[in-house]
């Protein structure tokens, strides 16, 4: 364990009856980082967070906070404040009383409590609502109250369980920058659970992707985006074209033999004979009318649809074998390309843009 480790999960398992929510978690959370834990519902991400908060007890393994095992500490003896998906603001207390709650529980005197709450109300720009009831606030204001309530004790770590899921799209984006700035300014470690890729990738320093209680990959958003470690991750991100097949020796290096064709791999990457999946980002997949000269990985395709969102165009294509291929480009990049439905084109990519992952 390195010196900048704040939390470590060591062989942590959690079962509910016969249901295994989390199987053998081993990872570390660094001091001051913004870590997002991402996955679809039931993947164990919330359970992981709740174990850290002391709301669930691990069935096996050890969770350490600043080096000390915290398995047996009840939640009220840990300093792991959490922001709930429902926010869990106390409806019978007003905004100020909500923010002061944690200080009151720590026996902080009235005047001091008020002063510190005031600072956070101010920082979250909700001072004017201090005396209001929770029911009178908008979604965004509630969000700020929940953050102030958890941060008022100035903890080392803040846990967030999909706190933005109830907001509309525009507000979500605004709150993301609020959260990111808050984390940068305070240096508090944020552990952020979400099912949203855009939330995780836009805010987090590192992302943990979970599936069925197992960590599929940990890394910076860039690493994960460019080099997904498993087929699951590539699938989950949904931003690559996937080709499954078997690795063969061929030409100067290796090729992947797939039902769609044979593709040249970049360098010596896998054992010959192994089943693997080639992932190519949709932004790195190119199109042309004529068969491009010199390109080694070419697939003849037919246009089956197109979609424009903002400045990006997405083209949907189909190979002769029926596999769907997606290409994302700027408008100007495809301006000269005929894209009527049924149009025949060639899809191609450079071998160095292909990334091979093990078949899960």
């Amino acid at each position: 364990m390195s010196r900048d480790t704040l939390v470590s999960f060591e062989g942590v398992v959690k079962t509910f009856g016969s249901f295994v929510a989390v199987q053998k978690l081993d990872f570390e959370i660094k001091k001051g980082e913004f870590l997002a834990i991402m996955g679809s519902s039931g993947c164990g991400k919330t359970t992981t967070l709740r174990m850290l908060a002391g709301l669930e007890a691990p069935t096996e393994g050890v969770i350490r906070l600043s080096g000390k095992p915290i398995n047996d500490l009840p939640t009220w003896s840990r300093d792991t404040p959490m922001v709930w998906q429902s926010l869990a603001l106390f409806p019978f207390l007003n905004v100020r009383e909500n923010v002061e709650f944690a200080l009151k529980m720590r026996g902080v005197g009235k005047a001091e409590r008020r002063k510190r709450a005031e600072q956070w109300l101010d920082r979250m720009q909700i001072t004017e609502f201090a005396e209001r009831n929770i029911s009178q606030l908008s979604g965004g204001q509630r969000q700020r109250v929940a953050l102030a309530r958890s941060l008022v004790v100035e903890p080392e770590i803040l846990l967030l369980d999909e706190p933005l899921s109830a907001l509309d799209a525009a507000l979500k984006v605004r709150m993301q920058s609020v959260l990111k700035n808050l984390q940068r300014e305070t240096g508090i470690t944020f552990v952020y659970v979400t099912h949203s890729q855009s939330e995780a990738f836009s805010m987090a320093d590192r992302v943990v992707i979970m599936s069925r209680g197992v960590i599929e990959q940990i890394g910076t958003p860039q690493e994960i985006y460019r080099t997904p470690r498993t087929r699951f991750v590539a699938d989950f991100l949904g931003s690559s074209n996937l080709f499954s097949g078997k690795v063969r020796a061929g030409g100067q290096g290796q090729v992947l033999e797939t039902p769609t064709g044979q593709f040249v791999l970049y360098g010596q990457v896998a054992a010959v004979g192994e089943a693997a999946t080639l992932t190519v980002l949709d932004t790195k997949t190119h199109l042309s009318v004529e068969k491009p000269a010199g390109a080694v990985n070419v697939v003849p395709v037919r246009v089956i649809g197109e979609e424009f969102v903002g400045a990006t165009a997405t083209l949907y294509l189909e190979t002769a074998q029926g596999q769907e291929i997606r290409v994302q480009k700027g408008h100007d990049e495809i301006a000269d390309l005929p894209t009527d439905i049924g149009q025949s084109l060639y899809a191609w990519w450079n071998p160095q843009d292909g990334h091979l992952v093990a078949e899960a």
């Binding site: 509910f16 919330t46 359970t47 709740r50 002391g54 709301l55 669930e56 007890a57 398995n71 047996d72 500490l73 009840p74 939640t75 009220w76």
Partner: protein, 273 residues
């Protein structure tokens, strides 16, 4: 997600609370159980140690013509009260479900408030009012007063059932050509049937046990609970236990029937399970 973690609970506290719950139920059921036990006990002044097993008190009750009169009155009153309160309660529940109108708050207050007025005051008011309009001192006066108290229960039970109904069902029936009356007959009533029978049994059970208002207004046509009040006013008599046990079994039969109807297959929304 299951409740809070084991680590945030204390075994000792949990056990202490469980013990407390058991004691609470013991307190609630002690008089009920004692009444049952002592109804089979020979002693004139019931206490422990128990005397011999005997059916004397049942025999004494069974051979008392006044008790039989009371039982007949009770059943007669209960049956009519059940039917009338359920009918009125159904109408009120449907009104609340379907219509919005000025003064609805007042309407609902009238439909639901009576059980919150102390029975003794209701009894006095009923006695004074009904004797003024020459309706006091007979079974009819008991029926009238009991319906006032029971209709709100029927309304609450049936309203709950209506709130479980898909609000599109009735308009769907109209849309398919049913008149309002036909929709009522073929959609609303069948859907509410379990609650209607449930309300019928519950209101009957409430009427069976009501003694205070009945005591004020019944005159010579005493119902069984009023009879019990009489025994209580006289000297201590284990006959109360015998009658109590009998009425308890009768009431519980009705309640269990109601429970089966309300929670049985009919009560679940048709599209689930």
């Amino acid at each position: 997600m299951s409740g809070s973690a084991e680590l945030n609970r204390s075994r000792t506290v949990d056990w202490a609370l469980m013990l407390y719950v058991v004691l609470a139920y013991a307190f609630v059921f002690a008089p009920i159980a004692a009444s049952f036990v002592f109804s089979f006990n020979s002693d004139r002044f019931p206490s422990i140690p128990l005397g011999e097993f005997s059916l004397d008190w049942y025999r004494a009750v069974a051979t008392d013509p006044l008790v039989w009169d009371g039982a007949r009155n009770t059943l007669f009153v209960g049956l009519i009260v059940g039917i009338v309160s359920t009918a009125l309660g159904f109408g009120a529940a449907y009104t609340d479900y379907r219509y919005k109108f000025a003064g609805k708050q007042v309407y609902l207050a009238l439909a639901l408030l009576p059980p919150t007025i102390p029975v003794i005051i209701l009894g006095l008011a009923m006695l004074a009012y009904l004797s003024r309009i020459n309706l006091s001192g007979n079974a009819l006066s008991v029926i009238i007063s009991h319906v006032v108290v029971c209709a709100p229960f029927a309304m609450a039970i049936i309203r709950l059932r209506l709130s479980q109904m898909d609000p599109a069902l009735e308009p769907a029936a109209w849309n398919l050509g049913a008149s309002e009356w036909m929709a009522m007959r073929h959609v609303i009533v069948p859907f509410c049937a379990p609650a209607i029978f449930g309300a019928l049994f519950i209101t009957m059970a409430v009427s069976f046990d009501e003694f205070a208002v009945a005591w004020f207004v019944s005159g010579l046509n005493e119902t069984l609970p009023v009879k019990v009040l009489g025994f209580l006013q006289g000297q201590v008599s284990p006959r109360i236990n015998a009658i109590g046990t009998f009425v308890f079994i009768l009431s519980m039969t009705l309640v269990i029937l109601a429970q089966l109807l309300l929670s049985g297959r009919g009560a679940k929304p048709a599209d689930k399970e």
